[in-house]
């Protein structure tokens, strides 16, 4: 791609600011630079930027897919007005807060404990690390498939096992109004713990050992060492995990679509699933886009709060 046209350019171009040892000092001809980013930029514009802008625009329309492009009806803020009085929307907001609010911290707390345990010399450390991580790399559908069978209220191993242990009235798990969402929380924590542990473990291992040594010499016990040295040093990692997991757990709908389809009733209809079902089951695209926008704004606000919270707490900030 354009190899020979550019050979002539190199050295003299460095002239303008020879003293700055900055990598910006040498300018590349605009055309050459653009040729390098062009394939990526074209794809970005077509599949991310335009859909994003369109998605924002669709939220202000009333558009049913059946009517095609001509069926676009600009309705201003109507979708958002309807949303604000839509109890189903607010209920799914609460469910999302419940789901993400338990899954994210739960996964992270277990993950950091696991990382601390794996950071010591335990027999079979590498094998252990792999085992905890496997649920994370396996597709959520394969994972869901196993749990669907294991958690079957009548014939699943879990309830039959509980029955043998003398539990007379075990929960109906995924098919129960009360236990549906908690079951999803448990499955999500189960699949995410290993990921958190691996990231925390990497952070622990990149910590300067002298820090801990110094704390030990000062006579700090294990708990004090954790609260005063380790946890502050892990703060950037914690923020990173909190933000990325908050986004993925508030936006993902795959596992729910497969395991419960939002039910029974609406008991597992979180915001992301509500958007999916409005858009792709009822083809109310305008409304679905509006839900998406609201959910994104919510995530942005929560992220900003997390960011603020981290500031001034991290060891290195």
């Amino acid at each position: 791609m354009a190899v020979d046209t550019v050979t002539a350019t190199a050295p003299p171009a460095a002239a303008p600011q020879p003293k700055r040892r900055n990598r910006r000092s040498r300018r590349t001809p605009t055309r050459v630079g653009w040729l390098f980013i062009l394939p990526n930029v074209l794809g970005f514009v077509a599949f991310t930027l335009i859909p994003l802008i369109a998605g924002l625009g669709i939220a202000f329309t009333d558009w049913n897919v059946v009517s095609g492009l001509s069926g676009i009806d600009f309705v201003g803020l109507k979708n958002f007005q309807v949303l604000l009085t839509d109890t189903k929307f607010w209920e799914s907001v609460l469910r999302t807060l419940f789901f993400a609010g338990i899954t994210v911290p739960g996964t992270m707390i277990l993950g950091v404990l696991l990382a601390l345990a794996l950071n010591r010399d335990v027999p079979g450390k590498i094998a252990l690390r792999t085992i905890f991580f496997i649920p994370h790399i396996v597709s959520s559908i394969a994972v869901g498939m196993v749990w669907l069978l294991l958690l079957n209220p009548q014939s699943g191993v879990v309830n039959l096992g509980l029955g043998r242990l003398g539990v007379s009235d075990p929960p109906d798990w995924l098919v129960s109004q009360t236990w549906g969402l908690p079951s999803l929380v448990l499955i999500s924590i189960w699949s995410g713990v290993g990921y958190c542990a691996i990231i925390y473990l990497a952070a622990l291992q990149s910590m300067p050992p002298d820090l801990l040594e110094a704390a030990k010499l000062d006579g700090a016990n294990a708990f004090q060492r954790f609260t005063t040295v380790i946890w502050p040093a892990l703060m950037p990692t914690t923020t990173f995990l909190a933000v990325t997991m908050l986004i993925s757990h508030s936006q993902g709908f795959g596992l729910i679509a497969f395991l419960t389809g939002g039910g029974p009733g609406d008991s597992t209809t979180v915001l992301s699933y509500y958007m999916y079902s409005e858009g792709f089951q009822f083809y109310r695209f305008g409304y679905a886009a509006a839900i998406g926008v609201m959910s994104f704004i919510g995530v942005l606000i929560l992220t900003a709060i997390l960011w603020r919270f981290q500031k001034g707490r991290g060891l290195y900030t």
Binding site: V3, V6, T7, T9, A10, P11, A14, R23, P29, G33, F36, N40, G43, A46, F47, T48, P51, L52, A54, G55, I58, V65, A117, P123, I131, F132, I134, V138, S139, S140, A142, M145, V146, L148, L149, G156, V157, L160, I198, I199, A202, A203, Q205, P209, T237, F240, L241, I247, S248, Q251, G252, G254, A257, F285, A289, G292, F296, V299, L300, T303
Partner: protein
């Protein structure tokens, strides 16, 4: 990784005084916990070789008897054929990951090491859209592909996968740490811009490219939401979507088949992961630690 052995051995000497008992104790505790994570998969494997009536037996019989190999035959060669789902998934994953490696490394390199008009503005736009979750893009992408006539084709899965922000950011981060002098030296020797990229810098990035390939492979292979939205014809299903066919069809009665299909779907991921585990984890940690 490099500073660890020192730290470990230092800690080790210090800890020698602590009793062996606590060590074995914490090891046993961890392994007991690990059982909770691995046993569902063992159960999946064991059930995949059982008759349906044996799958739900309690206490669990971990060794199937009789061994039902026919589950796999049916899953792979039956009406709903894993063979077809695998073919679709390999095509989607292969093309999109290869394409992503190419476009992301070129762009990542240019954003990091070339300096040209408009670069920073473009990158700013990239950054601004980085935190937009892709689920938000599903509705407009769906409509876009429908207008283009690409709905219900594998292109609807492949095309967005070729251009990921994640790949571009990861490689930009890598190239930005590369010394610019390398390229300068090559340019003085008369190398063109493409040669500087292709022969000087790209070979340096091999470990990062491998890591990106693995992360994207896993993500693309496991993706359920995009095909759920973009495909309707069962013959075009990729593996995760195809997997659900084994439950929907007979309402959970075909548990043995469902597990055989699940095991089949997991195997490529497991192989890739076990081989490239180190690079995979290093890249994830790199993304996490910045």
């Amino acid at each position: 990784m490099s500073s660890r052995p020192v730290a470990l051995s230092r800690a080790h000497r210090r800890r020698r005084t602590t009793t062996l008992v606590t060590k074995i104790g914490s090891g046993a505790g961890l392994w007991a916990l690990a059982a909770l994570f691995i046993l569902p998969f063992v159960w999946m494997l064991s059930s995949s070789l059982k008759r349906n009536i044996d799958v739900f037996a309690v206490p669990v019989r971990w060794i199937p008897d009789p061994v039902q190999w026919s589950n796999y035959v049916e899953v792979w060669l039956g009406d709903q054929s894993m063979l077809r789902y695998f073919g679709n998934s390999l095509l989607v994953t292969g093309v999109s990951v290869t394409g992503d490696l190419i476009t992301a490394s070129m762009a990542g390199y240019a954003f990091a090491l070339l300096s040209f008009k408009g670069r920073d503005k473009v990158f700013l736009i990239y950054l601004a859209t980085a935190i937009v979750p892709y689920q938000l893009l599903l509705v407009p992408r769906f409509m876009f592909f429908q207008q283009l006539g690409l709905y219900d084709t594998l292109w609807a899965l492949i095309l967005p996968g070729i251009f990921t922000l994640f790949g571009t950011f990861l490689l930009r981060q890598f190239f930005i740490a590369c010394p610019p002098e390398l390229g300068e030296a090559a340019r003085i020797d008369g190398a063109g811009e493409w040669a500087v990229f292709w022969r000087v810098y790209l070979p340096q990035a091999k470990p990062m490219l491998a890591a990106l390939a693995i992360i994207r492979f896993v993500g693309s292979w496991n993706d359920y939401e995009t095909p759920l939205v973009m495909l309707s014809d069962e013959r075009k299903y990729t593996v995760p979507l195809g997997l659900t066919q084994f439950i929907d069809a007979e309402g959970g009665l075909s548990a043995g088949l469902a597990m055989a299909a699940s095991v089949s779907s997991v195997i490529p991921i497991l192989i890739v992961f076990l081989i490239f585990q180190r690079q995979f984890v290093a890249a994830l940690a790199h993304a996490g630690l910045k």
